[in-house]
Assembly symmetry: C2
């Protein structure tokens, strides 16, 4: 038996949340709650008690929160995370002999049995507590012990034994000699609010020139900051800003040979002008960039840097660290390929190199370099083509120096790979939203993201389009389809982003039978007239304003779907825990035709009785309706509006009919 303590009788099992048995932390942002549940039980019929223990990054000691029994041996407790950094939590439970005794005493007393011996047993428990206590609590517990021992007034002893005062004191000085502590300390990675609620706008800085044909610069970007901020975006993501390789540079439309003047893909990083720590000379100087980062902050926006750990054949690394690349038997460097496709302008890093540690450190220094320039958000290109262990290490290392850094994973890959990257530390991730269109597809996907363990570690960032993806429904659905997808992205997920100017102008010309842009900006200089008639600036501004003004839209896990009797109408809602903010969204998924139907709303949950009427205010169209009951009629003409974003409020009683709570 060794030193096994056979007297620990409580079992703690099935603790949730708990990602891969504590292998990975769950995620929260500052101010969010962690609700912890577990199966906790002992042999026999004794009462038990349990405590949630947690501590924040600066806490030396556990903070305790008493667990409450729910049902079927399940217990729960919660805590709020208040600081950025790593929290820990675990559980402890013990057999509570005092409580068992109290319960038995009550039953015996009420059954009229003699309790004169029983009360002495209780007195011993209370005496034990007095010895664990100090000061006035110890004194009071002693007094109670003595009073009971005198066995004078059984009725009084009984009511004292079951008094709130004694319960509180006994809980405080409970006998935990044989407490069982859960075998693991589980972790919560707490990040700043933007990890959960962020609104992204993507641009190619070279296309931001104010004159057609001229290569845009960081200074040009400064000029458009105000307009983007006014639309309600808080992250401005610039495609890579580094020198672009010349060897095997791609021409327009991804052709193999670039023509003179072709600018190449910004993801073919590195030339004799520098690599991942340099800026492309045509965009400006490093200090121009630093100035842009600062100006963006003044507009309430952060610049996100594209972290693409790959090289053009001209990258300085290729000469300085040939061992970081794969060399073919003919002495040439191995470029990227997905046979039979070839990507001649890019050479991947060789992560199985013997010098992997040196390479990892260099890549970490790239991240720290840009942190030093003011960057706190990194959009990571194709993280799924670099080892998982590398990312886990890199993110941990970087966060230990700069805890507020946010990493967005651009892992357009298989689900388990995508989720693994999220588990090991990426703050947010791109998703399959881009290809989820029907009611069933959207519902199933959102349930996976919000109603399974995934919600504990995977924060979606919804993108209707990207420079690489022009999905089929945007190719054919016209302006209405862009509006519909924007509403979905912006209200289903608390983080979303658009590939900016092309989205505002609903550019939809695609390569034949592909979901790719024709004349893609990736391979050429563009000039966008953002104010072209029909542009979506006002619509986007309104949607982002609604997001900003309604806290319930600033979370994703609080999503609920509501039934509609028309498969083209998707109904869902979000609300804050105190019900002070309730949003109900109905989207017409058909970009071509008017759709109508009946929507069922769980009004009781919102505190509205079936016979009561309530006000719904469409924040998108600014129309107000009075509804009653669970089922209400909705009709949406996509050529007028793709959706309703209703704010629901209980009507004031005993006030005029047209007032309602603010």
């Amino acid at each position: 038996m060794g030193d096994t303590n056979g007297r620990k009788r409580v079992v703690i099992e099935n603790v949730a949340p708990n990602i891969d048995n504590g292998r990975f932390p769950i995620k929260r942002v500052v101010g969010e709650m962690v609700l912890v549940e577990a199966d906790i039980f002992a042999d026999g019929h004794d009462s038990i008690a349990a405590m949630l223990l947690y501590r924040g990054p600066d806490d030396k000691q556990w903070i305790e929160s008493p667990m409450q029994f729910i049902e079927n041996d399940r217990w729960q407790a919660e805590f709020i995370v208040e600081k950025i950094g790593m929290y820990s939590y675990t559980l402890t439970g013990w057999v509570d002999h005092f409580k068992s005794w109290q319960k038995a005493l009550e039953k015996k007393f009420l059954a009229g049995q003699d309790i004169r011996v029983d009360i002495l047993t209780g007195a011993a428990y209370i005496k034990g507590a007095s010895q664990r206590a100090s000061g006035k609590d110890a004194k009071r517990l002693s007094e109670i012990t003595d009073f009971i021992k005198k066995k004078k007034d059984i009725d009084k002893i009984f009511s004292l034994s079951t008094s709130d005062e004694l319960i509180t004191l006994m809980d405080q000085y409970a006998d935990r000699s044989f407490a069982t502590t859960y075998e693991k300390e589980l972790a919560v990675s707490v990040e700043r609010n933007k990890a959960l609620f962020s609104t992204w706008f993507e641009i190619f800085p070279r296309s931001c020139s104010s004159e057609p044909g001229r290569h845009g610069t960081f200074r040009d970007c400064e000029g458009i900051l105000a307009g983007i901020a006014k639309m309600g975006f808080d992250v401005l993501y610039l495609t890579p800003i580094h020198p672009i390789g010349k060897t095997n540079r791609k021409g327009k439309n991804n052709t193999l040979v670039a023509e003179p003047g072709d600018v190449g893909s910004p993801w073919a990083i590195g030339s004799e002008e520098g690599g991942h720590k340099a800026v492309h000379p045509e965009l400006g100087t490093m200090s121009d960039y630093e100035r842009l980062v600062k100006k963006a902050r003044e507009h309430g926006m952060e610049i996100a840097l594209d972290l693409a750990f790959q090289c053009s054949p001209d990258h300085p690394y290729v000469k300085e660290h040939p061992e970081w690349f794969i060399w073919r038997p003919d002495g040439t460097v191995q470029f990227a390929e997905n046979p039979p496709k070839k990507y001649e302008d890019i050479v991947p890093l060789y992560f199985e190199t013997e010098n992997w540690q040196e390479m990892w450190n260099e890549l970490k220094s790239v991240v720290l370099f840009w942190i030093d320039k003011g960057i706190r958000i990194f959009r990571v290109d194709n993280p799924h083509t670099k080892p998982f262990a590398f990312w886990e290490w890199l993110i941990r290392e970087v966060k230990s120096e700069c805890p507020e850094v946010i990493f967005l994973s651009e892992a357009f890959t298989r689900p388990k790979v995508k989720y693994c990257l999220a588990k090991l530390g990426f703050t947010q991730s791109y998703t399959y939203f881009t290809w989820r269109n029907t009611k069933q597809e959207l519902t199933m996907y959102m349930k996976e993201l919000t109603q399974t363990d995934v919600r504990e570690y995977f924060r979606p960032n919804f993108w209707p389009n990207t420079p690489d993806i022009l999905p089929e429904h945007l190719q054919y659905g016209g302006r209405q389809a862009f509006m519909m997808r924007l509403v979905l992205a912006a209200t289903l997920s608390s983080s979303y982003g658009i590939y900016g100017p092309t989205f505002m102008l609903y550019i939809n010309e695609a390569v034949t039978e592909k979901e790719e842009y024709l004349n893609a900006e990736k391979y050429e200089l563009k000039y966008w007239d953002w104010d072209q008639p029909g542009n979506l600036r006002d619509f986007i501004t309104r949607v982002n304003k609604i997001r900003k003004e309604n806290p319930c839209l600033q979370a994703t896990r609080n999503l609920e779907f509501y039934e509609t009797d028309n498969d083209h109408l998707l109904g869902y809602g979000k609300f804050t825990e105190d019900l002070s903010n309730v949003i109900l969204v109905v989207v017409n998924l058909d970009a071509f035709h008017t759709q109508s139907g009946w929507l069922t709303i769980p009004i009781r949950k919102l505190g509205i009785e079936p016979g009561e009427s309530y006000l719904v205010h469409d924040l998108l169209g600014d129309d107000k309706y009075i509804w009653q009951g669970e089922r209400n009629y909705v009709e949406l003409n996509p050529h007028i509006s793709p959706a309703y974003i209703f704010s629901i409020k209980k009507r004031l009683r005993r006030e005029t009919d047209f007032d309602y709570y603010m």
Copy 2:
């Protein structure tokens, strides 16, 4: 980074089966299969390979079984357990550069690209394998390397590079330098077949006398062995055989004061005549008992001993080890109570005693004592009122000395407690079957037992009645209800048992408004006329014969439910993996009325085409039917038979119509 090996690129996650992250073993019996699945993937697009590693109790080294890719990064492999004892398994996976190369080569070659440099890359992989190989394999791999390097006949090189011969060799000598091995070794507790397939008959030995009024003896029990064995039972479970206490002995019908001649509850163990290592003198001597154990074996049955770790106030332990009991402030020993109910004839052991180690060792010596007397099956009374840690230790200790021991847990308690006892080592367990009556109740409960993780560690033993429980449906449903519940118990679960003579005689007199027997055998001497007219001997014999002759009924996890359009008709089936044995059961859950309806059978799964007819043979009534298609009509009059137990066989084609496969 320390010594982290950054070059291990494969991730192994979500391994199943896996009970509480490897905290507990899964369970199997000799000859059963373990199917292991896991999510296995690497970064990027490289091919990977994975291996299941397992070893039995006598294996010094891992045995390897290659894993197969299923879908969505899920892989699987299996192994058969062949010996009693503890097996281990784990997984390993690696990036297979040779396979990646081979796949790319194929695509490039078929696309007409130049592969003259690529083949040299492959040659290097093959050379590497030749260095890991020895003997003729090394020679052959060298030859292939040389042949490729000559670059003479590209077509021949291509077909050699993708040949089965090379694939087999390269798999055998794969480069596992950077393989990831799963962090845990998971365990399989392998037991003998009776752990899974057993048929129990419970008796009070004192009631087995051949004359009314005389106290039965072990010799009397010998006399009934043949009859019980003939009915098809293989475990004969005797209620406790130890001396019964006299202090506070209970009278008939659980009255507080015993009258002269009252025999008391056999669970009030211990008197001046001895404790847990003694036999009740009125039953005979220890050698009588040993003889009974031996005689039972001769009839193909094992005697199960009741292990009830509790004492009467007269038990020798109370004087010898007062510290193993709770003493009240008035100096009396604490008897068992569930306030306001009191069990004055029993004192519980105090598991929080400081001398717990000494007490544990004594209790272990009790088990070993009876093992020495020939006992290999223990029915453990109320294990849920003793600490979990105790049972885990006791079962491990006992099995290390005698691996074939079987423990049946009589944990009629809350689900999580019951499952916890199963996880920590109990072979079988009593269940809630006793109170699951309707189609929905039975279906939901069986799905929990056979389609969730529970099936990996919890082996149900179904009891329609016990000396403590006469469920309501047996009180009112008459003989038919007993027959119906027997068929359910015997065909839903591979282990079942009956509280014997009362079941054979469908005794159904209960205490008013309770599910307890009136004039319970627990408190008095009984004489049962087993051959009373109408007894169920023949029916029980037939059901047990069907179980013995049909291997598919000797497992529980293989259960499937089939739709019926009548809620009183429960349809389900079991079959062996090779479909050589297929049983379909239809039970009329209404003990009072004839019920009929349409049953839907998944005939395609059984290899029968919709247009084909097939033979169904009711093994219970011995009637044969020819059915066709998925839906067939069934009708059951409970006064004739409570159920059909159909054996389904494909009809012989090209043979006479009335022959069918045996």
